[in-house]
């Protein structure tokens, strides 16, 4: 298998060098295996489960269907780039507060997808929330708490944090 020459990817605000990746590596392969960034999960490799969801220049994508060599120079945002335990994003905080995490495997992808949804529509109704998350599968929660977290963020805020 042939390798690309080294190239740069900007991941969560940091420019990183990808060395020795296969020419046909997916962005998911590169994030997890070349760069050791394992926050993004590998569930199906078919672009259907959503566990590898990331933002590419702000656009929601499944990293497993993105050819890494074709996104050189683009900004990749993973769940780790949305916030930290000390300073979580609104979406991350809502997942914690609403008990929307069981095994946690779908959570990174769900968090990124919900972030993308709210960026596009800050006040989504129930149907819009469900449509927005229809590419993210969860085997544990039955989606109840995840939808509750989404609804809590869609409600108008009473006070600025």
């Amino acid at each position: 298998m042939s390798s690309e020459p080294d190239y740069a990817l900007v991941v969560d605000g940091t420019e990183l060098t990808v060395r020795g990746a296969s020419t046909t590596a997916s962005l998911l392969d590169v994030l997890r295996d070349s760069l050791g960034l394992t926050a993004t999960k590998d569930g199906c490799r078919q672009g259907r489960c959503g566990s590898c969801s990331v933002l590419l220049d702000g656009r929601l994508v499944t990293a497993c269907t993105v050819l890494a060599a074709d996104v050189v120079g683009e900004q990749v945002t993973t769940v780790a780039g949305l916030g930290t335990p000390e300073d979580p994003s609104r979406v991350q905080q809502a997942f914690v507060e609403c008990g929307a995490v069981q095994c946690g495997f779908c959570t990174p992808g769900m968090t990124v997808a919900l972030t993308a949804l709210l960026e596009q529509d800050p006040t989504p109704d129930e149907v819009t929330i469900r449509e927005g998350l229809c590419g993210n599968l969860c085997r544990c929660t039955g989606y109840g708490r995840i939808l509750a977290a989404a609804r809590s963020l869609a409600a108008p805020r009473e006070e600025e944090s």
Binding site: S2, G50, L117
Partner: protein, 275 residues
């Protein structure tokens, strides 16, 4: 296996001619999955995202031209009413942001986009090393595609009076259609009914179209009996039908007829509202 990030149509067709085993990559939602599952082994991947000529939606003199790199998300925003409605039925938000018109057509000849474009009587614009070509959607679907062909764009008239797209599947989202139907009522009262999911390519339904046009020409709202007749004509007019363990041929034909009838009702309704 190597990757070339092409920047021009000529470059692409020359690469395809020189490398018969090459694959084109736009959004990657088909090719990357096939690669991961070992279903293909190309010697060359030619990526298209930097080919500017394939990008964008333009409108001129009553025609809409949609570049092959246009994503489903962009069609929802600016593809016109039928392509927007159709695109909302495709995949997940991530897939809609990546999947393109070119990939959708080449990868889904009975798919949502092919069906809607057939109802729009669209023209397909292609390129090979022999030059540029234009052909009607039905011809593009029915004829064997030449090796080394690049779909560059589709174009269609923008003057439809009414339109609708309906799709049925095993669940609400992220599905291939068990059956689907796109209906366009054009400005002069002509009706085009396209059927998706039920055969190896999208189909037209000429008998149902003729009956529907005659009924609508009377100027009255569609009666339930007329809608049922349309459904029956569609059902009877589908020849060979795809079948599977959870969707028999008979079931697909039945659902297709029902959807065509409903889509016609919706299209006629949207035509009356617009009038």
């Amino acid at each position: 296996m190597s990757v070339v990030r092409a920047t021009g149509v000529d470059e692409v067709v020359q690469l395809l001619a020189a490398h018969p085993g090459a694959l084109l990559v736009a959004g990657g939602t088909y090719v990357m999955v096939d690669l991961a599952e070992g279903r293909c082994d190309p010697d060359l991947l030619v990526t298209l995202r930097r080919v500017e000529e394939l990008q964008g939606i333009s409108r001129e003199a009553g025609r809409v031209r949609v570049g092959a790199l246009t994503t489903y998300a962009e069609l929802i925003a600016d593809g016109g009413p039928l392509l927007a409605e159709t695109s909302r039925a495709v995949g997940s938000p991530a897939q809609r942001g990546s999947g393109t018109v070119g990939g959708g057509l080449v990868g889904g000849r009975a798919g949502d986009l092919a069906t809607a474009l057939l109802a729009l009587d669209a023209t397909v614009h292609t390129a090979t090393v022999d030059g540029r070509h234009q052909l009607p959607m039905l011809g593009w679907l029915q004829d064997a595609r030449p090796a080394g062909e690049l779909v560059c764009a589709v174009s269609f008239d923008s003057g439809a009076a009414g339109q609708a797209y309906l799709k049925a599947g095993e669940r609400q989202a992220v599905i291939s259609a068990t059956a689907s139907s796109a209906v366009v009522i054009d400005g002069s009262g002509g009706v085009r009914i396209a059927l998706g999911g039920v055969a190896s390519t999208a189909l037209r339904a000429p008998a149902a179209e003729q009956f529907a046009a005659e009924v609508l020409a009377g100027g009255q709202p569609l009666e339930p009996a007329a809608v049922q007749r349309v459904a029956a004509l569609v059902r009877e007019g589908i020849g060979w039908t795809t079948a599977g363990p959870r969707a028999s041929a008979e079931h697909r034909r039945h659902v297709c007829g029902v959807l065509a009838g409903r889509a016609l009702l919706r299209a006629a309704g949207s035509a009356r509202v617009a009038a």
